[in-house]
Subunit: 324 residues, 2 copies
């Protein structure tokens, strides 16, 4: 029987994990995706045309696509000229489908078919909501882009995010809740904690469904901290944050062990990002800690799709067999 995996996220971390999982036989993959993007072309589509911002959705569809390399590349193509500058072709494809078919739901289904995806890509909500954060210094940041784009403007730590919520409240897509309930494993993908992962957990019903789900809860810890979101966070601080938000401890935590390609660490440091320190316990009664070398050999510091998927799938299959 296929191992049912729900991956929750949206950004580049989800893309890498899903790309790796796509290569494994015997999995039923469901990708639950944040729809709170407010930056770039995706945000412009939302503001000017009133459709849900398709950026994260598009990336997850491409990650699961078994279409030709060309068509997959094309979906990420960005025009660079004239009045099309900055427009993403995949987003225009989505907009054309929404207008032709009359709904975002029909457009997502059609894109899945056109891209021949393995599994399903499921928007976490169909509601139009903005991400809003309050910082420790009282500042309010409105929109995912405002939170995502915070750059180092001072020495030392930025004021941390003290509270984060959706305006207005968004209701969960029932299909996303079903996916959470039915899966053998629910994986919180690597990626920006407050702009790719948490927006999913803020949607009404999602955190609760994860809390009560029968499947294993898996946290894939990030490789690097991020200035405006997780400055100085260790691995256990990542796990704490997600434990609190799901009102449930994870069953399994995947954390990178081994080196990182160091050619780019200086660049990351200038952006206020540093490697996440593994301070998770060895042994003990908490979640199982799976340590594996999951970093890409590529100069960019990111999860390697195959290594990450291999480590996770091997462990999940083992657990699945011992239960069955």
């Amino acid at each position: 029987m296929a191992l049912e995996i729900a991956v929750i996220g949206g950004g580049a971390g989800s893309f890498n994990l899903l790309s790796g999982l796509r290569g494994h036989e015997g999995l039923h993959l469901r990708s639950i995706v944040t729809m709170m993007d407010s930056g770039g072309d995706s945000g412009q589509l939302r503001d000017a045309f009133g459709v849900l911002p398709p950026g994260d959705l598009r990336r997850c569809l491409v990650a699961l696509s078994e279409e030709t390399h060309l068509l997959r590349e094309l979906f990420s193509f960005r025009f660079e000229e004239g009045d099309l500058e900055g427009r993403n072709f995949g987003n225009l494809f989505f907009l054309a489908l929404v207008r032709s078919l009359g709904s975002e739901k029909a457009a997502v289904e059609a894109l899945g078919k056109i891209l021949k995806i393995r599994g399903e890509v499921i928007p976490v909500t169909w509601d139009d909501a903005q991400l809003v954060a309050r910082l420790a210094d009282g500042a309010i940041l409105r929109g995912e882009a405002a939170i995502d784009k915070r750059a180092p403007d001072r020495e030392g730590p930025p004021p941390p995010i003290e509270a984060i919520w959706l305006e207005p409240m968004a209701r969960a897509n029932p299909v996303a809740l079903d996916a959470i309930r039915e899966s053998d494993a629910i994986v919180l993908a690597p990626g920006d904690v407050f702009t790719s992962l948490v927006p999913n957990l803020l949607v009404d019903g999602v955190a609760e469904a994860i809390g009560h789900a029968r499947g294993k809860l898996v946290v894939a810890v990030n490789l690097m901290t991020k200035y405006g979101e997780t400055w100085g966070w260790s691995a256990s601080r990542h796990v704490e944050e997600l434990t609190r938000r799901c009102a449930r401890e994870p069953d399994l935590v995947l954390v990178h062990t081994g080196s990182l390609p160091d050619g780019r660490l200086g660049e990351y440091a200038r952006e206020g990002a540093s490697p996440v320190v593994d301070d998770l316990p060895v042994g003990g009664s908490g979640p199982e800690i799976l340590r594996a070398d999951v970093a890409s050999r590529n100069p960019l510091i990111r999860h390697d799709p195959e290594a990450t998927a291999n480590a996770l799938v091997a462990r999940l299959r083992e657990a699945h067999r011992s239960v069955a």
Copy 2:
């Protein structure tokens, strides 16, 4: 052995004929397409982005596509909002492919695969040239759109087109010349004589290749005249014009016989268009005249794809068998 058919044209007439031919087994179809479009989104792409105008190409690709109805419809989709207003999705697809793959040639091939076309669509030239016409009153019209869009502005006949040429001269795509040489039948599709059909014949080498080709030359006569191009033309005037331009009499002339849906004739009359009168000889030594009811039952006066293709294919197969 497959019957090899080359269809020369570009506009709605080619679309209808090719759509009908696509349904026939045992044909090898090659659509040779004008690239002189200068109006609308297609012309804008040419002016602002420096790519060959893809409008006619796109229509012929869609006509031969065996992809889903949805994808075919999408290629004709026109955005109607914001700064995307008037942009055609298929044209943007073409532009994204040109930029991704680095050439118009690679983009046309890729589109053929993505749209799963039967046969081939072949741009008549890869050169960038404008259509220019001189009218009997001495006026010069530059660009396909200026010629195509002439509307009745007076009582009686408009000054006819006295001369028409390309600026600068365009060299034939060698693949188009091969298609003409190798085909069993070369069909001059119905459509605007001076803006869809003749631009192909003006490309250096094309008319000559038709003149010397071993295949049967077929002219499909239009149902209606067009104000600024063929005002008052009878069927034999159509045949004369094309005979002169190819320096060769057609072997077969397909002309509509029977009624036309009369609900729209008033509208057409206001645009200076009237039914083409069949003044072709009955019997005699000239080209064979094939009279068939090929008009659509649909209120628009256009060639019916199936009826037109059926009439042509039946006659061409007969001729092919009697030779073989």
